[in-house]
Amino acid sequence: MKTIDVLLAEHPFFQGMAPDYLAFIAGCGRNVQFEPGRYIHREGDEAKEFYAIREGKVALELFVPGRGPKTLQTLDTGDVLGWSWIFPPYKWVFDARAVELTKAVMFDGLCLRTKCEGEPALGYDFMKRFAEVVTMRLDAARLQLVDVFGAPTPR
C-alpha cells in the first residue's frame, strides 16, 4: 500500500513539489473514498478539508429553489477540491457530490494552514499552486458564461 507522500507525488497538483515538503504535509492527509451520490460537503458547512482527487468524479452543485440542483462544474481524477479552508470564514460555497466512486487524499485544513504559516516557503508554494487552479477554474467559468454554442448569425 502506498504511503500518503507517495500518493501525493503522483498527483498532478503536487507535481514538482520538494520531497521534504511532501513528507511534511503528508501527516495532514489520509485516504478517503465516497460512494456515488454521497455529498462530500454542503454549501454553508464548515470548510475543514481539502481533497486531492485520486480517482473518480465530483460534481460542484448549486441548489436553485424551484429548479433543483444545477451542476456548475465537475472535477475529475487529478483535480483538487476546495479552497474555502484557506480563508475565513472557512465555509463551503457550493455543494460537492461524488458522481462516481471517488477516492481522494483528504487533508485537515487547520493542520495544513498551521504548517504553511510556520514554513512560509511551503505556504508560498501552496499559494502558487492554488492560484493556478483558481485561474483555470475562473477561465472555464468565463467561457461557460459566454455561451459559445449560442445561436450563430443567421444565413
Binding site: 498532478p12 468524479k57 460534481a59 452543485e61 433543483g68 440542483p69 444545477k70 451542476t71 456548475l72 462544474q73 465537475t74 475529475d76 481524477t77 487529478g78 458522481v99 462516481e100 483555470m136 477561465d139 472555464a140 467561457l143 461557460q144 459566454v146 455561451d147 459559445v148 454554442f149 449560442g150 445561436a151 450563430p152 448569425t153 443567421p154 444565413r155
Partner: protein
Amino acid sequence: MADLGPAPLVGGAPAPPPAPGLVIESFRVTRVRKETHDTFTIDLVHADTGAGLAFEPGQFTMLYVLGVGEAPISISGDPARRELVHTIRAVGAVTRALTSAGKGDVVGVRGPFGTPWPVDAAAGRDVIVVAGGIGLAPVRPILYRVLADRARYGRVALLYGARTPADLIYTADLERWRSRLDLEVHVTVDTADRGWRGNVGPVTTLIPRAPFDPARATAFVCGPEVMMRYVAVELGRRGVAAGDVFVSMERNMKCAVGLCGHCQLGPYFVCKDGPVFALPRVQPFFTIREM
C-alpha cells in the same frame, strides 16, 4: 436546381462550359435524422445515378434550395463510402428550408470544396480531435478515416463539448466510439441538471486529461471561433506546437470558388484556402476584432 442544361448559343457559337464548381447537380434526400431540437442530418445521393460523392475529410458543399438560396455545409459522412451526409443547424432561411426537407426531396449540390484535414500526415502520431457543438460534424470524417486504419496512428482522443446534454449530436456514434478500447472519448457540457452523469465545464477542461504526447500529437479543432481560440491556448499550455494544430474556419461563403470575396479572412479566402488551416496561418486574425 438541376444542372444548368445545355450551353445556350450566343452569336452562333456555343457558350463555354461553366467553370468547375459552378455546376449545381441534383441530389435526392434518402434519410433525415433529428439530432437536436434545431439540428438535423440528411443523407443525399445523386438524383440520376444514385451515387454518393468523392470528398476528403474537412471539405464542404454548397447546398441549394430552389427559390431560397445556397449555404455552405460541411460533409460529415464516411469518405471511404462516399457518403454525402450533412448535419445542418436551422439558423437562417436556407438552413431552415434544408432541415424541413423530407425523404425523396431534391436539393442542389455544388462541390466538394475546400482544403481537407491533413489526416494522412498525422499517421504515426497521436491524434487529438477537439469539437464543440455542431463542430463535431466536420471532424467526424477524420474519425472514420483514422478508425478505418487505426494501426497507422498512435493514441487517438475525441474531446467533445456542447451546451447541454440535449445539444449533443451523433449520440449513437459517441456510444459506439466510447466502447472501443483504442479510442479515448471525453464529452462535456456547459450546463446540466443532476440527471447528467458526465462532465460539466468547457471543452478546454478536457485537454489536460487527455492522454497524448504533445511532442508527437496532431490536433484537429472545430467549433465556434471563441472555443477554438481557447482550445489553442490550452493545447499550447499542454505543449502542442501551433504548427501541429489545425482548425476549421467558418465564414460567410457564397461562391465557394474564391471569386466573390465574401469569406475573406486577411489574405485568405476561407472557401478556397480553407476551411482547414494550420493554426499559425489564422491565429493572428483571431484577435482582430474588425475581422
